[in-house]
């Protein structure tokens, strides 16, 4: 049985959480003002996901 403090995340869940946390941190560190930050966070988060999924598809043929 898995202890309560252990996490089992799928590849996609891990990527989404990573992208979200890093986007928020980068947004707050590099931008000022709520609107600028929100825009940066959203844009960065979307790019993280698109590039992550894109790299996954590029690597897909090598796994077969």
């Amino acid at each position: 049985m898995m202890p309560a403090h252990e996490f089992k995340l799928s590849h996609f869940q891990a990527m989404v959480i990573f992208a979200l946390l890093i986007s928020i941190a980068f947004g707050f560190l590099s931008r000022r003002g709520a609107y600028q930050r929100a825009r940066y966070i959203l844009w960065s988060f979307i790019l993280f996901l698109i590039i992550g999924v894109g790299i996954g598809w590029v690597m897909y043929p090598f796994s077969h």
Partner: protein
């Protein structure tokens, strides 16, 4: 003419510069600011968000603390590898530097990971990356706090 001001009268109003060297105060201030910036960077490294909190940047402080804490909790919870000082190869040494970037949270991660790392599954491997990311992110935040304290960044 009565409106004309005598030259001698106008020149006496100008104060002569003080005899102290003009650059001593500025250099002293700069040194003090550099020392303060280094202290803030060390504080930011030791406890994520503390550097920004000392600079009264509350939002950034809260975000730095929360993101690093969440990454460490998740990474340790996924049984990621926390690198130790005695790394065998260059990757292990680099991993140790990255992990140590989280400051005191490095020890929090060690305390949280009771069962030790398990990188035989992808989950543990992701955990390793999340722990390293927490450290590198904290180093970036500490560098940002240092730059702000030196008045190079807003």
């Amino acid at each position: 003419m009565p409106d004309e001001i005598p030259i001698a009268e106008s020149t006496t109003a100008v104060q002569v510069a003080p005899s102290a060297p003009p650059y001593s105060a500025t250099a002293k201030d700069r040194h003090r600011r550099d020392a303060l910036a280094l202290t803030i960077a060390a504080a930011a490294w030791f406890l994520p968000g503390l550097g920004h909190a000392l600079l009264k940047m509350w939002g950034r402080a809260l975000v730095c603390f929360s993101t690093v804490a969440l990454l460490v909790i998740l990474g340790a919870g996924m049984r990621g590898n926390i690198f130790s000082r005695n790394g065998e190869d260059a990757f292990a040494k680099l991993g140790y530097i990255a992990d140590l970037g989280a400051g005191s949270f490095y020890f929090v991660a060690q305390a949280l990971e009771i069962n030790g790392p398990d990188v035989s599954h992808a989950n543990g491997d992701y955990g390793t990356r999340l722990l390293a990311t927490a450290g590198v992110l904290n180093m970036l935040a500490a560098l940002h706090a240092y730059e702000v304290a030196r008045a190079r960044k807003a």
